[in-house]
Amino acid sequence: MQQLTLFFYIAFTLGVYALVRFLYVRSKNNPLFNIVAVSAAIIIAVLLACGITCEQYEPAKDIMTILLGPATVGLGLPLYRYRKLLRQQAGCIAMCVAGGALLAMFSAALIAQWGGLPHDVVMSIMVKGVSIPFAIEITGMYGGIPPLAAAFVVATGTFGSLVGSWFLTRVGVANPLGRGLALGTVSHAQGTAVALMEGEEQGAMAGLAMILAGIFTAAFAPPVVWVLQLLS
């Protein structure tokens, strides 16, 4: 019986994904059909309507994400194909991602602090621009709440993938290098996935930015925490 419901959850998730992806491609990449946000919203709505809790869905999630690690490793390939661009623009890439990661940490933590959120929530939201393993590692060092940090990471990733492409076009970024770096810096793997849908160069740069943003965020955390204490 349990296997049957498990199978049903997975089949349902795959079905919703396939449908939303179809609509997205059909609508010529209309950002309204953002695959992650729309699919997750549909699934959450159905789960809530049927009185199914997140814990019951969890085993299905674990099965579906078994291949997430190996799939992410595949980013090594576009990175390798763009190694020439990477060497040429190394300084530019490092500078942009460092600036972006710093700005993301500061703006998030400052708004949270000014808004009167408790210290542990501020420390959790500070690291939200990096992939979950990084975020959990860093937030734990400064008194944040790891599961909450993971939730912020996912929220940021979902938001970034929802508006990222549209917003970059609005502010006049046409350059594939810039688009990829921005998406990867702000929305880690979720932004990278969106960048990959735009093109291979964007995807490669986003993957690289995601890696660098994780490293920079870890490095910048001590000074950012220090400044936040001064401002509080």
Partner: protein, 146 residues
């Protein structure tokens, strides 16, 4: 997707010539290549666990694959089809992950506007900064080198 390249080379690992690009052959090749990616990821997990370095296994895995490709130990066509397939559907994995957000609805409800503002502003500002800065720097560099 520009990643798709129909290779006419023989796969050195599984010894299946890819000239006859039948679906079955392609499927078997993807399975093999997935196993290779899986092995790299598991190896990275192991290294992270044993050495305790504060780097996520998937990030280490990307760097390992990149270095293996650079050094020529692994050739592009050893991972091409599986990597292309997974990267094309990378967004899928984040659907079940995002569903877990429903558990945190209360926290978001409690601190609603502040959290929303923090997430929105801290996403839009760096997006604009990184995008514009990278575009500006690359244009300037291209002008200088020409």
């Amino acid at each position: 997707m520009h990643l798709v390249r129909t290779g006419h080379t023989a796969c050195a690992i599984c010894h299946i010539p890819s000239t006859g690009t039948t679906t079955v052959n392609k499927f078997i090749r993807i399975l093999w290549q997935t196993a290779l990616l899986f092995a790299i990821y598991q190896g990275s997990l192991w290294v992270v666990r044993v050495t305790g370095i504060p780097v996520p296994a998937n990030v280490l895995g990307i760097l390992v694959l990149f270095c293996l490709l650079l050094s020529g130990v692994i050739k592009e066509h050893h991972v091409n089809e599986a990597a292309t397939f997974f990267l094309k559907h990378l967004v899928f994995f984040f659907v079940p992950v995002a569903v877990a957000l429903m558990n945190w609805g209360e926290v978001f409800y409690q601190y609603g506007w502040v959290l929303l503002a923090a997430i929105v502003v801290s996403a839009l500002l760096p997006l604009a900064l990184v995008g514009r800065l990278a575009q500006y720097l690359q244009k300037r560099k291209d002008r200088c080198s020409n």
